[in-house]
């Protein structure tokens, strides 16, 4: 450790410009992310010139909206030092319920879908905050339970419609202003505004960061930490539900694999956006950029047409590099 500064200083002399740029970027991490996003968009445009168009942007945003909302759930929980591995099962379950209830009308379908997130989020919160189960274990187990329950219910009480109603389809996949702006992006924007307000301008947001940084200190300061944790898991559950309903609306029909593929990207988007898994550090602005970066990356790999296996490897590698590079940048500050 004591020898580390010497080579670093020596390297800083010739690379003074780069170091200064790095310091600047470290001060404003979102700048770096925006830069990466821009580079990725241009690279994708290079691969497929048609991508740089209104419809290309629309498709990316359509993909990014459900992911961004799921990643919002992870961001809230990761700030407290928690995580929700059941969030994609919540999304799938909510979509399933909403599709099943679609014949009853969109309002009932959506409300019952969100109820799934409320109930499961509360259960996760009670398990983590009151019974002190490790969040990884709690939500992983919950994910298994949900999969089992919905598999069984799909044959019994949820038998019937697996098609979303027209309103939900419009919400999840439709656009307005001459097919330019997807409705789901409007929903995402509203949620993003709400989350950013919650995290920056409310006491609850302050407590999320505080608990992630030092739970004992928050408790001694007279806060009932369990209340904050439970509400965080409930909010995360509801976000999972909304995301699932939008996703189901986009695909039109639901099955039990609906949101499966989004679990790791939801964590990755938050991590790329600079939210620490260990809690106390981060925010939703970075997560939004993280979700956009992952969506663009996905489009690029699709256009490259390299086959599913290679896509997965490249995707994983880039996510790892981004997360690692970002962590290095912020530690320097």
């Amino acid at each position: 450790m004591s020898q580390a500064p010497l080579p670093a200083q020596a390297a800083a002399e010739p690379a003074g410009l780069a170091a200064r740029a790095a310091a600047r970027v470290a001060e404003h991490p979102t700048l770096a992310l925006t830069g990466i996003l821009a580079i990725l968009v241009l690279a994708t445009g290079f691969v497929e010139p048609n991508y740089l168009s209104v419809s290309g942007a629309r498709n990316t945003l359509l993909q990014a909206a459900p992911l961004g909302i799921l990643a919002g759930a992870q961001t809230i929980l990761m700030l407290t030092g928690g995580i929700d591995l059941s969030v994609t099962m919540i999304a799938t379950g909510s979509a399933y319920v909403a599709a099943n209830q679609s014949p009853e009308g969109a309002v009932i379908a959506i409300l019952l879908g969100i109820l799934v997130g409320l109930v499961v989020g509360s259960a996760n919160g009670v398990g983590v905050a009151v019974f002190r189960v490790n969040p990884l274990i709690m939500t992983l187990a919950m994910s298994g339970i949900l999969l089992g329950l919905f598999t069984a219910w799909a044959q019994t009480i949820l038998q019937g419609s697996t098609q979303m109603g027209p309103f939900i389809k419009l919400l999840g996949g439709g656009s307005f202003l001459g097919n330019r702006v997807p409705y789901s992006v409007v929903v995402w924007a509203l949620i993003a505004g709400g989350l950013i307000w919650l995290l920056r301008r409310t006491g609850w947001g302050r407590l999320l960061y505080a608990i992630g940084d030092n739970e004992v200190a928050v408790r001694l300061a007279g806060v009932r930490v369990w209340q904050v944790r439970i509400t965080a898991y409930i909010v995360a559950g509801v976000l999972g539900s909304i995301s699932g309903i939008l996703l189901g609306g986009r695909t039109g029909a639901v099955d039990l694999q609906l949101a499966n593929a989004f679990l790791l990207p939801s964590v990755a988007a938050a991590v790329i956006g600079g939210t620490s898994i260990f809690g106390g550090v981060g925010g939703y602005t970075g997560t939004i950029l993280g979700a956009l970066i992952l969506s663009v990356l996905n489009s690029m790999l699709t256009f490259l047409n390299v086959g599913q296996a290679i896509q997965q490897v490249v995707y994983g590698g880039i996510v790892l590099a981004l997360a690692w590079g970002y962590a290095g940048l912020t530690r320097r500050a």
């Binding site: 006491g203 609850w204 302050r206 407590l207 505080a210 940084d213 408790r219 001694l220 806060v223 106390g280």
Partner: protein
Amino acid sequence: MAVRRGEVHALLGANGAGKSTLVKILAGVHPADHGVVHVDGRPISFQDPMDAMNVGISTVFQDPALIPDLTVRQNLQLSDIDEAAFTPWLTWFELEDLDLDALVRDLPLETLRMVDLGRALARDPQVLLLDEITAALTADQAERVFALLTEWREKGRAAVLITHRLAEVRRICDRATILRDGRNVALFEPNASPDATNGAATGTMFDVDEHDLVEAMLGAEVTELEERNESDSLSPHQPGSRSASDEVAFSVRGLTSGDVVRDVSFELRRGEILGLVALEGQGQERLFSLLSGDRSPSDGEIFVGGRQRRWSAPYDAVGDGVVLIPGDRLLALLPNLPVRQNLVVPLFSRIRQWLGLPADERQRVRNAIDRLSIDTRAASQVRRLSGGNQQKVAIGRWLVAGFRTLLCFDPTRGIDVQTKRETYALLRELAASGAAILLYTSELAEIPLVCDRVLIMHDGRFVEEQDAARATESSLLTAAHGLEVPA
């Protein structure tokens, strides 16, 4: 300091005198900045604990050095101890029933201390270093340790014993070295052959009075300090400046928590600063966690403003205006967050305060920062602030949130002189404005400066109350050892 073969050497000193640090140097845990350790006349330099063990020094540290999630047997294997060498010592300590396959975390503290000791003995050392070994033991176990030390001495081996129990020193120690502020200041020996190696004062062991040991721990500095206090702006002898009223803000009756806190009662009045003095490990930490609602007492009552309260969490205590500044700043601070985030946490303890921020949040933070003159140059992460500024943040949190009764646990430990003075002045100011303050401090010189009355705690009980203005370091330390203070 020299330890002879065939002696039990006591190492004494007040809190923070450097006893444990010295032991860690001798055990090879910390390297020495200067100076040499001689073993059997040969200079030895220790790079790590193995070196010390190889020359026959075996140590039992203040806290159990066992891995909680392993069994006793696995712990022995880890430290390369032969079970055959270990079990005879268990028999000696009357622990032959101990299940070696029991998890360390499931064993009571006193058993662990004996396991620690047995493990040290199993290395068949020439020199045994025991840091507060008797503090956690029951009386009969301590007897077994004393019997061991007596035999140890007869075998011509050496032992160094750190303890706060002066009666033990008189009973089984041959000589005693006194440390103060990291220096050895006195050596007590049975036959008063002047040991002039370090020019320290010398005395005689067997007719040594326990009070003389206490005096030596304080040394000549007492008078020096008292002179300094006289010239201090916060002169202790100004009864007029004291603001205590008759209104009892906070009181406890018969507060008990296991064996650690026993039958503690006191009253704390508005405008009063009540001092609390104790040696390390006399139950003061537990007492503060009871008073702040962090733990529930096993018996006894807590009253706030004359009404009995039952608290299940700090939330309840804070709701009653009883707030804690913990001794360990790690328990108070959010190290990676800015000063502002640290200061505002208590403003959101109730759910109805969660949505939105108080309109005057910024103003309140600014006021606290100004009042405490917190240096905010490194304000973006509290862990980068100096210790003194971190302490100010811990105090400032309650200036922002407001309180009626303040529980302060050793607020000036490890902070600079300037911040100490500011802290004293602030506490007096808060008391003058009607707050009730309970102040535990390990710095005895603070007591007459800041407090109105002082309670002395020993072995979980309050043993004495003194008038703070007349309390001296010697009277406090004497009482803290559980001894009668001469009239």
